[in-house]
Amino acid sequence: MSLVQRNAWTLGLLVLFVVLLGVTRAIQPGFGVSGLESLARAALPFAFATAAMAVVVIVGGIDLSVASMMAVCSVTAAVLMQSMGGVPAILITLAVGTAMGLVNGALIVLTRVPDIVVTLAMLFVWQGTALLILASPGGTATDWMRSAITGSVIVDGLPKALVLVALVVAVVWVPVKRSKLGLAIYATGSDETAAYRSGVAVGRTRTLAYGIAGLFSACGGLGLLALTGVGEPVPGPYLLAAVASVVLGGVILGGGIGGLLGPIIAVFILRIIRTILTLAAVDPNVTTIVEGTIMVGVVMFGAVLVLRSRGAGP
């Protein structure tokens, strides 16, 4: 299989995104650099939440506590930044996020309770934890943190927020994917029994995948803090949005197939669709209907294409 074939889904999403950008320009000729920048800024927490979700879905699980973990990380960083510098606060927050993810994973592996049940329970646990840390929105973000996601970098029209997401995901995920751990993650998600028989430490692999998801959730929490400037203890609408982007991004619920690039492009697609509908003055309630319809449509269309190219019927 060629490189193009293997990444056909991701390339298709990229084309779709470019087309949608064109549509936006057509509706609103004034949509330019600043429009792109605010799109990327708004997409930042969604992108990290989606990266977190994608990793656990690839390993064959699901993490319903992503948004709650983001809330914990957002308030942790907001509180710490008042008492210490930005950098230590960020490092501690990343560690906290990773630890929460590892706890999720370890609970799933040790108790053998299904992922969806454990992470649903942890959704409430982390939600309560966030409120214990900060009962109402508060704390602060450092100025350099806020400016880190504002404006463009290198050339006009390349938003800093976008570069940041790409950089962080690349730094975390590329080494993992190239390592034995990455193979083990895909193997476990694809066929857990076969992986076990091949000598993969399945339990450790799943736990580590949840740990990576926790790390991405921490990035999402930090992104949220940078975006709003205050720590927000109540989880945002990131859980279902992340699941939607993961599915649209070509990751198969059930595991083993997909990557992180597709889901992150899907985040931008879902955001820009929202922008287009807003610009076209569509009723906000209709907007969600359209979003849902597009998701089902694209995934169905993609499945048909895949079946055609394999030359096999259902």
């Binding site: 299989m1 034995k180 193979l183 083990a184 895909y186 193997a187 998600g189 694809s190 066929d191 029994t193 076969a194 992986a195 076990y196 028989r197 091949s198 000598g199 993969v200 430490a201 083993g256 197939i257 394999r310």
Partner: protein
């Protein structure tokens, strides 16, 4: 094997129980350098449990498995690999969503060695970037085997590897396995095929009822001795004289199957089943009987051949089609047939209430009377309101079969209905089956336990290697005759 020479693998006194079921009591196996040893046993002898313990996937309750004299118990498949034992399982252990090269990396397989063995196994042109999911079954087995060989294992365990392979590849596999032994390594070979075992193996270790009952050196004409060892003295399940010579029924059969082929394992099956008849199906595991029953129940579409119900050709595209044609499957796995959380009463009533077209309100009084009658006949020793999952396995199976007594059934497909059921309940199930037939039902009865054939059936067909190879009357169906037939030792498909 000289006494000073440690065996490559030494398993002694291995025992394993699952709840009340004692799968293994005293399994033993030794393998010396340069040896190929066959592990044999009839269905239910404990072979697959033993294999799981040898490869570290299960831990024994008692006994030990030592690889190359190491005293440590093998704790996991990964550890077994490091000790030098690499298995090739019946089910390929390759990851479907990874390409061949990634599957190699996953277990640190040397690629050069892998390529070498691929060429030896006639797959030199296989691309390493091919996805496992896209490869045909035979190639999967070859990739699995080449990957195992590339690890240069001291002990290679081949579990029914050749079942899915065409003849020319089987020859290659046997050559390669023999070569391993010639290089001073060892091979454990698990197969039902005497022809292959006599070509390849030095010794056979025979397992029966969870214990190793003997070892024999492979020599010409050894088959009879091995069959005898696999049978041994079985528990007498009922009156031996139960088999009565019933005349072959005349007239139009209820169900006729002609030259049926169903992917992947059933090649050519023909049979005729008459009302009032219980026709047994004898087959070792994986000879195509699963495909036969699935096709008759509408779960799988046949590749070719013909199914006739009451003389009319039937093309089942959905289980509902088969049910509408009067074919009822009782699956081997009881959990697939019952609603475990619901009561016995509801489970007995279910086929009746769910009958196609019965959308109107249930006729409760009518239903209650029928259910009460059924429960009484089944002698189920529990309150009828209890959840089905609280019944013993045997009583659950009585419900799955007996409920059809209450509703009437035209053609019943029983797939290994007595698997894992105690002897006393088994004795209650045979009369149930008989009663169904006496009511006019036609019954197809597959069982993995040969001694049941003369007790429950009028006659039996034997499936070997995807083909119906023999037909035995119940009066002649002693276990030895059946076992020989099941191993392909009679008829034209017999041992080479």
């Amino acid at each position: 094997m000289t006494p000073s020479d440690d065996p490559l693998l030494d398993a002694q006194g291995v025992a394993k129980s699952f709840g009340a079921v004692r799968a293994l009591t005293d399994a033993r196996l030794t393998l010396a350098r340069g040896e190929v040893v066959a592990l044999m046993g009839a269905n239910g002898a404990g072979k697959s449990t033993f294999v799981k313990i040898l490869t570290g996937a299960l831990q024994p309750d008692r006994g030990h498995v030592r690889i190359r004299g190491q005293s440590a118990q093998v704790g996991s498949p990964a550890q077994a690999r490091r000790s030098g034992l690499v298995p090739v399982y019946q089910e390929p252990s390759l990851i479907p969503d990874l390409c061949v090269a990634d599957n190699l990396r996953l277990v640190d397989t040397p690629v050069d060695g892998f390529r070498h063995w691929l060429t030896e196994l006639a797959h030199g042109d296989l691309r390493l970037d091919a996805m496992i999911r896209d490869l045909p079954l035979a190639s999967l087995r070859i990739v699995d085997l080449a990957r195992a060989l590339a690890m240069r294992p001291d002990v290679l365990l081949l579990d029914e590897l050749t079942a899915a392979l065409p003849t020319d590849l089987v020859d290659r596999v046997l050559t390669v396995a023999r070569q391993q032994a010639a290089d001073g390594r060892g091979v454990i070979y698990i197969s039902h095929r005497f022809a292959e075992i006599s070509r390849l193996c030095d010794r056979a270790t025979v397992l029966r009822d969870g214990a190793t009952v003997g070892e024999v050196d492979i020599a010409p004409g050894i088959e009879d001795q091995v069959v005898e060892m696999m049978l041994g003295a079985r528990i007498d399940l009922g009156k031996r004289a139960a088999a009565i010579a019933r005349p072959r029924p005349e007239g139009r059969p209820r169900l006729r199957v002609e030259n049926l082929a169903v992917a992947p394992k059933l090649v050519d099956a023909s049979l005729a089943l008459h009302p009032g008849e219980v026709l047994g199906v004898v087959a070792l595991e994986g000879q195509g009987q699963d495909e036969l029953f699935d096709a008759l129940a509408g779960f799988r579409t046949p590749l070719s051949g013909r199914i006739e119900v009451d003389g009319v050709a039937a093309g089942f595209r959905h289980p509902a089609d088969a049910i509408a044609a009067g074919l009822t499957l009782v699956p081997g796995n009881r959990a697939e047939a019952l609603f475990r959380e619901r009561s016995v009463r509801e489970n007995i009533a279910m086929p009746f209430s769910a009958r196609p077209g019965a959308w109107g309100p249930l006729r409760m009084r009518h239903e209650k009377a029928r259910v009460a009658e059924a429960i009484e006949r089944l002698q189920i020793d529990t309150r009828a309101q209890g959840e089905v999952q609280r019944l013993s396995g045997g009583n659950q199976q009585k419900v799955t079969i007996g409920r059809w007594l209450a509703h009437g059934v035209r053609t019943m497909l029983l797939f290994d209905p007595t698997r894992g059921i105690d002897v006393r309940t088994k004795r209650q199930i045979y009369p149930l089956v008989r009663e169904l037939a006496d009511q006019g039902a036609a019954v197809l009865f597959y069982t993995s336990e040969l001694e049941e054939i003369p007790l429950a059936c009028d006659r039996a067909i034997v499936i070997f290697n995807g083909r119906v190879v023999d037909m035995v009357e119940a009066t002649e169906a002693d276990e030895e005759r059946l076992m020989r037939a099941a191993y392909g030792l009679t008829g034209s498909e017999g041992a080479a």
